[in-house]
């Protein structure tokens, strides 16, 4: 299967900031590919280079086998884009905006406005001015505009940032439906649940570099287990005290001072947890706090960089 997008050695340098510091990526046709990383990681810059809105400082950029410096017109006709926080024509109606964007694309190829309104659940709002739409409706409109030209690749830059949970889920469903129709989707996000839900493969980026690549499940596997246990005890215990318990893959200390505890990566909970309690009893220690949960991409990021995805 040939690549929908290929980036090789991508570098983007601004005066005093290196936004992208040597990035290699391949996006396969028909997959939903995520760029996951905290704010300032270089995700938006990378995506804007893929969209032809910014020129790279160095590196190879191939989209659908074409290049931006030679085939820009062709490429623009075949991709769809949503930017972060776009304000559109505030005083046009939803329908007028869709019709306007439709005229930019090839008549035969462009999608029907009625159908898109329905798919994006904007039919009721078709006569509303853009400035009167809620955040969730605006984002759906932005995605609607992105698909008007029936693109081969759809780029979504932080599509659910700033939305309430309900709108987020609604948008996820919309994006899933697009995937089901075979579109290639490239998505940037700093929400790990979004990446896990929507993406076939994820590239984790930090400080302009790719630090991990794989499906969400693979990445979680790589950190040594799908389950985590966070444990605090009345008698502080060092990691060595529990690291050889059956089913425990790794243990490390967390926290400082009064809030010390342990973070354990375990295999199957029904094996590891009983064995853990037995060990605690042997040390005459009682658990004061025990959290057992599934590992997430946030944990992946944490184990790779020591920081969380969301700085807030």
């Amino acid at each position: 299967m040939d690549a929908a997008i290929r980036l090789q050695g991508l570098v983007k340098q601004y005066d005093d900031v290196t936004a992208v510091a040597g990035l290699d990526l391949e996006v396969r046709r028909g997959e939903c590919f995520g760029l996951l990383g905290p704010n300032g990681a270089g995700k938006t810059t990378t995506v804007e280079i893929m969209e032809g809105l910014t020129a790279p400082t160095a590196g190879v950029v191939e989209v659908l086998g074409l290049r931006w410096d030679k085939d820009a017109d062709q490429l623009r006709a075949r991709i769809g884009v949503t930017l972060q926080e776009t304000k559109l024509f505030e005083k046009l109606t939803v329908e007028e905006t869709l019709r306007l964007f439709r005229t930019f694309y090839d008549r035969q190829r462009a999608r029907d406005v009625e159908t898109v309104l329905r798919e994006m659940q904007l039919s009721e709002k078709r006569k509303s001015w853009v400035q009167k739409l809620s955040g969730g409706q605006r984002q759906r409109l932005a995605v609607a505009l992105g698909v008007m030209g029936d693109p081969d690749i759809l780029f979504l830059d932080e599509p659910t940032t700033g939305l309430d949970p309900q709108s987020r889920r609604a948008l996820w469903d919309t994006i899933s439906a697009l995937r089901a129709r075979g579109k290639t989707v490239v998505l940037t996000t700093h929400y790990m649940d979004e990446a896990e839900f929507l993406c076939d493969r994820v590239a984790v980026v930090d400080h302009g570099k790719r630090i991990a690549l794989g499906s969400p499940a693979q990445l979680i596997d790589d950190i040594g287990g799908h389950h985590l246990v966070e444990l605090s005890t009345d008698l502080p215990l060092p990691p060595e005290a529990v690291s050889d318990v059956a089913g425990v893959r790794s243990a490390r200390a967390t926290g400082q001072g009064a809030a010390t505890g342990l973070a354990l990566s375990i295999g199957e909970p029904h094996v590891a947890l009983p064995a853990l309690f037995t060990r605690l009893a042997a040390h005459h220690a009682r658990p004061t706090r025990l959290v057992s949960r599934a590992a997430t991409l946030d944990d992946v990021f944490l184990s790779l960089t020591g920081r969380t995805l969301r700085e807030d």
């Binding site: 809105l53 006709a77 024509f89």
Partner: protein
């Protein structure tokens, strides 16, 4: 045609304008207010009466009586010191001193540097001499005409239209484009196959649609309120206005080409328009400026427009006779659009 991106962009621009509450007032209503204000300020009240003071003394009431019969003079009877003070303060143009008796010459005091004062002296002297017996040596007859098209308001209205069209063209393009850039709408559009030239052209086309309405509103109002008449053809006025507006819009595109925010755009538009309002004969004739800048002034787009429009409106000239100003407008329009497209940044 509804599928044409240029048509769709132009319609979008028009809709945005009509749905903006302030825009309609500023485009159509405000110039009318200016016309009214200026027309009133500079209205023709007949020739102004010239104020003269007759100095109190034995012959004063006799002299004042003769002078009061002259409609061009306003006569006051004042003591010598008060009259002298008023003369110095330019509250009166002329003092007339009859002296002690009929044997004394009548003394006129005035400032010869002021043309109105010389005129007042001549008028007063003529009256007094006639009363004393002066007769004309030659037979003469006066035939008066009312010079329509020669009043200040007739001269001013075309200049106001020029100002309005320039202002509208620049603000209409620059403000809206820079706002779009600031809101990243331009960036969004740049990701589509939309042709860049179409976007810029849609602003010019939408602007043209409002021009006939502006022209009609201004001239109908000026006709009703001040009796201003278009001596030439109305079609010529419309055609010139559309052409001028198209040309001016090019400057707006230049102002909008790079500005990253509306503050910068404001500054650029003011930089382009305000000097032209002063130099190009909007409120007063550009002839008042020294000779060596005249060629420069003539080449400015607003001057060219005002000159051509005045010839059509006040002198009844044809559009075809205005070749030079039309050529100037054409050059500005084409060059500015080409440069703007080259300079234009979408982000």
């Amino acid at each position: 045609m509804t599928e044409s991106p240029l048509f769709a962009l132009t319609m979008a621009r028009i809709r945005e304008f009509l749905r903006e509450p302030g825009a309609v007032f500023w485009t159509f209503g405000f110039p009318l207010l200016i016309t009214v204000a200026l027309g009133i300020a500079f209205r023709e009240q007949g020739p102004p009466r010239q104020v003269v003071a007759v100095i109190e003394g034995p012959r004063a009431s006799e002299l004042a009586g003769i002078l009061r019969a002259e409609p061009l003079l306003a006569v006051e009877l004042l003591p010598a010191d008060v009259a002298a003070a008023r003369l110095r303060a330019a509250a009166v143009l002329l003092t007339v001193d009859g002296g002690a008796s009929a044997a004394d010459p009548i003394v006129y005091r005035f400032d010869p540097a002021r043309p109105e004062a010389r005129g007042a002296r001549r008028t007063a002297d003529e009256r007094l001499q006639r009363q004393a017996g002066r007769r004309d040596a030659l037979a003469t007859r006066d035939e008066t005409t009312v010079a329509r098209g020669g009043r200040y308001v007739d001269w001013m209205v075309p200049g106001l239209l020029g100002m309005q069209l320039l202002s509208g063209a620049l603000w209409g393009t620059a403000w809206n484009i820079v706002t779009a850039r600031q809101r990243r709408l331009l960036k969004r559009l740049a990701a589509t196959p939309m042709r860049r030239g179409h976007y810029l052209l849609s602003f010019r086309l939408a602007g043209l649609l409002f021009v006939p309405v502006q022209v009609a509103v201004l001239f109908v109002f000026a006709r009703l309120a001040f009796g201003v008449q278009i001596q030439g053809s109305v079609a010529a006025v419309m055609a010139l206005s559309l052409f001028g507006s198209w040309s001016f819009a090019g400057l707006g595109l230049i102002a909008a080409a790079r500005a990253q925010n509306t503050e910068t755009a404001n500054g650029l538009v003011n930089l382009l328009t305000l000097p032209m309002f002063v130099l190009c004969g909007v409120f007063f004739s550009s002839n008042r400026f020294p000779g060596f800048v005249q060629p420069l002034i003539r080449f400015l787009p607003l001057s060219a427009f005002n000159e051509a429009l005045r010839h059509i409106v006040n002198d009844g000239a044809s559009l075809a006779s205005q070749g030079a100003p039309l050529a100037i407008l054409l050059v500005w329009g084409v060059v500015s659009a080409t440069v703007a497209l080259r300079m234009f940044r979408w982000t």
